[in-house]
Symmetry: C2
Subunit: 189 residues, 2 copies
DNA sequence: GTCTATAAACGGATAGAC
DNA sequence: GTCTATCCGTTTATAGAC
């Protein structure tokens, strides 16, 4: 029994998926208008400017991802947590043609206002912090390979995951995310 | 004593830097027109469609990067070669607002024709193959950490470098590339 | 080769009726 | 809230003069 989404929520959801597909400069109010079934002027009613829309999209996307992180079973091993995280990242690929919204907006960042840059930075930092904890635990467990500080390794790991979804889509394969996970596991796959 | 560039070459050079800044959907023939000092119709004379222009841009950019790889001293240690490669990658940042053209086009790939996708794929494969050789040599030398196959590690390393330039620009810092290099060096920084 | 002129569609955004 | 109507600049692209 699914609750009906408000028009505002439909706009936001479609904006997120369109940006994950084609980026900030690759979709228009007209695209949204056709997908949601309202006129472009109605979209301006909810989101006066495109920048307003993007900022709200990043906030909603971040909230969803953060909720996903909190839902990871805290009793799992570090190795299993990393596997769960990689799997979550793979899900963003959708039908194989989407990448992480914040990775995409990082590519488009020079076309965007500072407010969006700050929101995307916050997303990066939160994910890196979460991964740093997992890597530190994995090093203590002896299941994950951490060369250097956990923080530095976590930044590298997150960058590798962002780069991997990009490559996965480019090559039409999901295997590239597995390469990343294997690189941090002690017993290499 | 610099040789004067042809109009065609000027267009191509500016197209490359503009795309490294704002992506495929973030620049126009008008932008190029103003930078080069010719009318947009003259640009269409050299590159009938925008897709033609992008394909030529990727080819020129790839040729330049491949020449850069060949210019790396073959007698260097694997560790030093990785450092040289990371430095090259850092140079693409320019004034801190540009990323690798092929990383950017990988983000924009769903707006582009297959011909461009294939050219970007070839760029990825060539870089990954070069890095795989360096990692294999580094593992033999005992200076680089390679967990799993050199090929899998090379794909991860390349993805991490692409993700790192993205993050470097996002955060206005060049330090994130150093994180990546440190992660693969045996004596962590 | 480069220009002027123009086409035809698309872009984000607003005013005002209902 | 949603619509119609409209503004006005932008975008890719073409025709044809020079």
């Amino acid at each position: 029994m699914e609750t009906k989404l408000t028009v505002r929520d439909q706009i936001l959801d479609h904006a997120i998926t369109l940006m994950m597909l084609r980026g900030y400069n690759g979709f228009s109010y007209r695209d949204l208008s056709e997908l949601v079934g309202v006129k472009t002027s109605s979209i301006h009613y909810y989101f006066p400017s495109k920048d307003d829309l993007v900022l709200e999209a990043v906030r909603q996307y971040s909230d969803e991802v953060m909720a996903g992180l909190r839902s990871v079973d805290a009793t799992l091993s570090a190795e299993a947590k990393l596997a769960a995280y990689t799997k979550m990242f793979g899900k963003t690929l959708g039908d194989g043609d989407q990448i992480c919204l914040c990775g995409m907006l990082a590519a488009d960042i020079e076309s965007l206002p500072d407010s969006v840059r700050e929101a995307v930075q916050a997303f990066f930092r939160a994910n890196e912090a979460w991964l740093a904890k997992v890597l530190a635990a994995g090093a203590a467990e002896g299941t994950l390979v951490v060369n250097g500080s956990a923080e530095s390794a976590a930044r590298t790991l997150f960058a590798a995951l962002q780069g991997s979804v990009l490559a996965s889509r480019l090559f039409h394969t999901k295997s590239r995310l597995k390469d990343v996970e294997a690189t941090w596991r002690k017993r290499a796959a």
